[in-house]
């Protein structure tokens, strides 16, 4: 009897021991099955995904069209801008050519004026010649004044001699002595005048020479300035010729 009970117990225990993991396994499977979606759900999901995909494709196509339109618009704008730029460049080029031509024209005009200004040298040369004539004239006046001074000295000596002769003649010579004295006074005044004239001639030499030299030096200064201007203008012409 006890054996039988034991067998039953063993059997029950065995069943219990083997059934327990099985039960746990079943339970786990049940939980897993609950987590799994159904076929309908999968189909629904698939439809949703397809719809979404279709929607995305539509959106993509729309965006692509939009982009294409944008690209086209930009292309047209670019072409427009290019045309405008070309127009501006052409206008600028035309203006530049006009300005260039004007600058060249002005340079040529300046060159002509500069060439004419060099003609001033003739004026300076004339002044120089005039100065030489004036200096020569002053020298001649010096020479004449020196001769005049010699004559005056001679007159003084003659007057002195006349005074001596008048004194020798005694009472008969008194009238002649008065005349001799008058002549001597006149000669002395003439001598004073001659010295003053000589002094004026020296002043005249100094002032005339320095004034004409100032004119001559000023003339060279002007010619130097014109030469500088001429060089600058010619360089500008050369630069423009290279740029053309």
């Amino acid at each position: 009897m006890s054996t039988m009970v034991n067998q039953i117990l063993f059997f029950l225990l065995g069943g219990l021991l083997s059934g327990l993991p099985l039960a746990l396994l079943l339970r786990r499977q049940a939980v897993r099955l609950r987590g799994m979606v159904g076929k309908d759900q999968v189909q629904l999901l698939e439809r949703n995904v397809q719809e979404m995909l279709a929607q995305q494709q539509e959106n993509f196509a729309a965006q692509q069209q939009e982009l294409e339109a944008l690209r086209h618009e930009n292309h047209q704008r670019l072409e427009h801008t290019q045309r405008e730029t070309e127009t501006v460049v052409t206008q600028l080029s035309t203006k530049a050519s006009t300005s260039f031509a004007r600058v060249l024209e002005n340079c040529d005009a300046s060159q002509e004026t500069i060439g004419n200004l060099f003609g001033l040298m003739r004026t300076f040369e004339r002044w120089h010649d005039d100065m030489n004539v004036l200096i020569q004239h002053n020298r001649e006046m010096h020479r004449k004044n020196d001769e005049f001074a010699l004559i005056v000295n001679q007159v003084i000596i003659v007057a002195l001699n006349a005074s001596i002769e008048a004194a020798r003649a005694g009472a008969y010579g008194r009238g002649f002595a008065v005349v001799a004295s008058e002549v001597r006074d006149l000669a002395q005044r003439a001598e004073k005048l001659s010295k003053s004239y000589r002094s004026n001639l020296y002043q005249n030499d100094l002032i005339t020479t320095t004034t004409f030299q100032d004119l001559q030096a000023g003339g060279k200064m002007i010619v130097g300035a014109i030469t500088g201007l001429d060089l600058i203008n010619k360089k500008t012409q050369e630069t423009l010729a290279l740029a053309a």
Partner: protein, 185 residues
């Protein structure tokens, strides 16, 4: 209208140009400022006068000389010529050329301060004319003497008239280094 610095500048440049132009090669010379009294007593008979001009000023330089054997010998040495072969015209030309050379140097150096400047040709006038320098109404008058062992003592007068305020400074050391030598007094 001429600043003291400008007056000194004119003096320095002229002294330097005198030294450069009137000293025969290989000889030593000294240029010095002399008083007006000493200038009044100058015994020379003639003057070579030159003008360096700008629209701002004019500077007249007068070289006193006597056409005698000593002067002839000096200018013969200066121009490497034989004094015996120099006729009257060559002699006078050599004196005028000496003044011309001196003022040419002055003109060149003043060109560093005044862009537009010109120089006259030389003329010879009588020494008596120097008694009337005050008639030129110059603001600055200075007299110099240049001494060389084998030559007579030459005198030079500088008269500067200014027509604007003029102020410039000559660096004597720079001038000296550019020209090789310059003695200052």
């Amino acid at each position: 209208m001429l600043s003291q610095s400008a007056k000194d500048g004119f003096d320095t440049l002229l002294m330097q140009s005198l030294k450069s132009s009137l000293t025969p090669s290989g000889e030593h010379s000294e240029v010095m400022v002399v008083s007006a009294d000493e200038a009044d007593a100058i015994a020379d008979s003639q003057i070579v006068v030159l003008t360096v001009s700008s629209y701002l000023f004019r500077a007249m330089v007068m070289f006193y000389f006597t056409p005698n054997d000593d002067t002839r010998a000096h200018f013969a040495r200066l121009n490497h010529l034989d004094a015996e072969t120099m006729n009257e015209q060559t002699f006078m030309d050599a004196i005028a050329e000496g003044g011309n050379l001196c003022c040419g140097i002055l003109n060149r150096d003043l060109g560093n301060f005044f862009p537009h400047i010109g120089m006259s040709t030389p003329n010879v006038i009588d020494k008596h004319c120097a008694s009337y320098l005050q008639k030129l109404n110059c603001e600055h008058v200075q007299h110099f003497a240049i001494e060389m062992p084998q030559s007579p003592r030459f005198f030079v007068s500088l008269c500067v008239s200014a027509y604007a305020d003029i102020d410039f400074e000559v660096d004597a050391n720079t001038v000296a280094s550019e020209t090789g030598e310059l003695e200052l007094f």
